[in-house]
Point group: C2
Chain length 192, copies 2
């Protein structure tokens, strides 16, 4: 089924980007990992690796935010939800041998100075995370300006901690960032 092939290409490319980045992931590697014919890759993504990259960034960004929403909604309150999300990220990172961090951060840094369509895709994903996390905070009574700041802080702390954790092969930075993000949310809430 064609749609399944396309999804499989997107999924394996996301995995490869997470571990090796955009530049370090080859088209042959994608085709092999997706068990798809080479032609199907250019059939679905006539613009080649850049077009595939843009699609992967948007899809991964969407899936990652859905994961955040799922974790937050399963928690008894927003503060616990943010804490649980960082704790879950630390767990996943350790269980995947420090491979499975943010699906788009590596690509975002690599392509920022090189590909305008890819840079723009990463910018759109981060902005959608910020906007939607801020909206959730605003729903809980945090003023709009402050909500945006706290959202940016949560995402910055998470992304920066991923860098330190992948380098050190420990979850220490995620633990620290998670505690700080949780405290930031707690103190921003009107009933703090």
């Amino acid at each position: 089924m064609p749609t399944r092939t396309k999804d499989r290409i997107l999924d394996v490319t996301a995995d490869l980007f997470r571990q090796y980045g955009f530049t370090g992931t080859g088209m042959k590697q994608i085709v092999a990992a997706a068990n798809a014919p080479f032609g199907s890759l250019y059939h679905y993504f006539p613009g080649g690796k850049e077009e595939l990259g843009v699609a992967v960034i948007h899809r991964s960004g969407e899936m990652y935010f859905e994961l955040f929403e799922t974790v937050v909604e399963a928690a008894p309150d927003l503060v616990s939800g943010v804490r649980d999300f960082f704790a879950g990220a630390a767990l996943v990172l350790r269980d995947t041998d420090y491979a499975d961090a943010c699906p788009i951060a590596t690509v975002a840094l690599e392509v920022a100075s090189r590909s305008e369509p890819l840079r723009q895709a990463t910018a759109e994903v981060f902005e959608s995370w910020v906007t939607r996390a801020a909206a959730r905070l605003a729903d809980h009574g945090v003023p709009d300006d402050r909500a945006r700041e706290v959202a940016i802080l949560i995402i910055s702390a998470l992304e920066g901690a991923f860098i330190l954790c992948r380098a050190s092969r420990t979850t220490e930075a995620l633990d620290v960032a998670g505690a700080a993000a949780t405290a930031a949310v707690r103190s921003a809430l009107p009933d703090a």
Copy 2:
């Protein structure tokens, strides 16, 4: 002069890594930018790109921390110093068209799953930043455990903000992260 050639190779490679990452930087590109003969690259770095990468990571990490110390020491107090450092990073980023962020973050993410010597070099640099920033906080009376946490938080927030800023081509995330880092230092100090 040979030492100058070696330094020039290290400097241009650091610049290229900052913008394009490790994988995206080719040996030919390095030789051209350094205006050095190809042979001199393998003379100074017989282990090739990986050995050069390790040297660049250590050197860039050291220079970046020295910049931090210079900024902090020029400030009237530690809180202002941290605020100034983030403000300076934002200025440099904007002035370099969002190219000149952290010298090792891109490499750290790219190589974490691929090259053990490079991963280890990035881990050593981050650990040295954490240890030395924490020591500085401890000198101002912050208890050791808390000093380490605040140091990790400052570095995580800085690194994560760089990702968002390079993607969005705005300094908003650095402004937010800088305010949060400054507040974290202020509240950790014993006279807070």
